[in-house]
């Protein structure tokens, strides 16, 4: 199905002799927001790492726009924004320097937008402050500024709202919805109750575990 962005078939992953998920299959269409649910240790982060291509410890097939993802790795990386458990923010660099390096890594990003993105996440006035003197939430915000810079259609976000205040979460949810309305897709894990009124689909990993099948 080429109209699907990402298709996952028969995914199986085992960790330390424990089956995390078995025969997991779903597909992500443009404009869809998918929330991965599950208790702690149910394999949410593992799934995110597999989907993004960081981890190869799985069996099954992942297709990107109808092609096996291994064969179109370059196109996939160009179309992917991954927000991991660690924010990827260097403590001794300033928010601006952090994002400038990120812009060099993703050629689609225009470095001139960085100041605007920092303003959007509420870090105006902190552009030149080293990240180690910012709070934990502000550090996450530096990394979340990448969402405002990105032009990638697929966003994979692992716990993006950790340490973010209520107002910030609402702004990010609005951003996710806008991204979906523009035809992008989001796969995210979060323990927050999403306030998005829109095309949110939930996948519960607890039901996919080997023990319950």
């Amino acid at each position: 199905m080429p109209d699907q962005l990402l298709t996952v078939q028969n995914l199986f992953c085992e960790r330390d002799d424990r089956v995390l998920f078995n025969r997991l299959g779903f597909s992500v269409a443009p404009g869809e927001i998918i929330q991965i649910e599950g208790q702690n240790g149910s394999g949410k982060t593992t799934l995110m790492r597999i989907l993004s291509g960081l981890s190869r410890h799985y069996e099954g097939d992942i297709f990107w726009r109808g092609e096996p993802v291994e064969q179109v790795r370059d196109d996939f990386c160009r179309d992917l924004l991954y927000f991991g458990h660690q924010a990827g923010v260097k403590a001794v660099l300033t928010p601006q320097e952090n994002l400038r390096w990120y812009a060099a890594l993703s050629p689609a990003i225009n470095a001139a937008d960085i100041d605007h993105a920092l303003e959007q996440v509420g870090l105006r006035g902190f552009e030149d402050v080293p990240c180690h003197s910012l709070s934990a939430g502000q550090n996450r915000r530096v990394s979340l500024a990448r969402l405002y810079l990105s032009k990638a259609p697929l966003w994979i976000l692992d716990e993006p709202f950790t340490a973010i205040d209520k107002k910030g979460v609402a702004a990010k949810e609005a951003l996710l919805l806008r991204h979906a309305q523009r035809g992008g897709s989001v796969i995210l894990t979060t323990h927050h109750e999403l306030g998005i009124r829109g095309p949110v689909r939930k996948i519960n990993l607890d039901q996919c575990a080997g023990t319950s099948t």
Binding site: S52, G53, L54, S55, R56, H57, D74, C77, R78, L80, Y82, G84, H85, Q86, A87, G88, V89, K90, A91, V92, L93, E97, R100, W101, Y102, A104, L105, S106, P107, P130
Partner: protein
């Protein structure tokens, strides 16, 4: 046709931009964490200071040992600094972003290693004549010492980075790096210190330098690919 050349130009520009952006970032990082910067240099200096105290302060004896001691000290202080190369990127998640970037990984890796070399290996090379003086190395040996270190230390950094990339996912990777990498360091050490010895005795050192250059060319071509592959393996667990 022109469109195509334009996009090729753009791509080349973004690649060299990436290279310099990575170098710039590495310099900023190392100059803001000064302890990491001076640690290998202090170690290098300490070996040369302690050696005469431990062995014998007799100039003729020390002059004989000097080529080997300076080279071993340079090798060990490079090794000492290697563990930190990818460690902080791994811990704060920058490495994940690096691996998922559509840009070629080996280019970023090469920029990182070269930046790392210029604050360790190059600095050691510049400091080496001081150590030579402290160990009574004859003046004829100095050019050989500098040249051999200039050609040898980048190889040490490139090979050490393979070990650092392989062990970055482990909690206590430092010891393992030494075990993995030391056997590969031995040829560099042998040709390096032989070059200095040849320079001291007035023999031609072209052959040794050519061998060091060949090792460097080999490492420059192959190590970035090996480092990239090693990083992917380390991150995939």
């Amino acid at each position: 046709m022109t469109m195509q050349t334009n996009s090729e130009d753009l791509q080349r520009q973004s690649l060299s931009g990436l290279f310099w952006a990575t170098c710039r970032r590495e310099y900023l990082l190392s100059f803001r964490r000064k302890s990491d910067l001076v640690n290998p240099l202090i170690f290098f200096l300490m070996v040369a200071t302690l050696f005469p105290l431990g062995v014998s302060p007799e100039p003729g004896f020390l002059a004989q040992l000097a080529p080997g001691v300076v080279w071993v000290a340079a090798l060990l202080s490079t090794l000492l600094s290697m563990d930190a190369l990818f460690r902080s990127d791994y811990e704060d998640g920058s490495l994940e972003q690096l691996l998922l970037s559509p840009q070629p990984l080996f280019l970023v890796v090469l920029a990182k290693v070269l930046a790392h070399w210029s604050v360790t290996g190059l600095a050691l090379t510049v400091m080496a004549p001081l150590l030579g003086l402290m160990l009574f190395l004859p003046a004829e040996g100095m050019p050989g010492l500098m040249l051999s270190l200039l050609l040898g230390t980048p190889t040490l950094s490139l090979v050490g980075a393979i070990g650092a990339a392989l062990t970055v996912g482990l909690r206590k990777g430092g010891v393992l790096i030494s075990l993995l990498v030391l056997p590969l360091y031995i040829p560099v050490l042998i040709f390096g210190s032989s070059a200095v010895q040849a320079a001291v005795t007035g023999l031609p050192l072209g052959g040794y330098l050519a061998l060091l250059g060949a090792l460097l060319a080999l490492a420059l071509g192959l190590a970035p690919l090996a480092i990239s592959a090693a990083l992917r393996i380390s991150m995939s667990s």
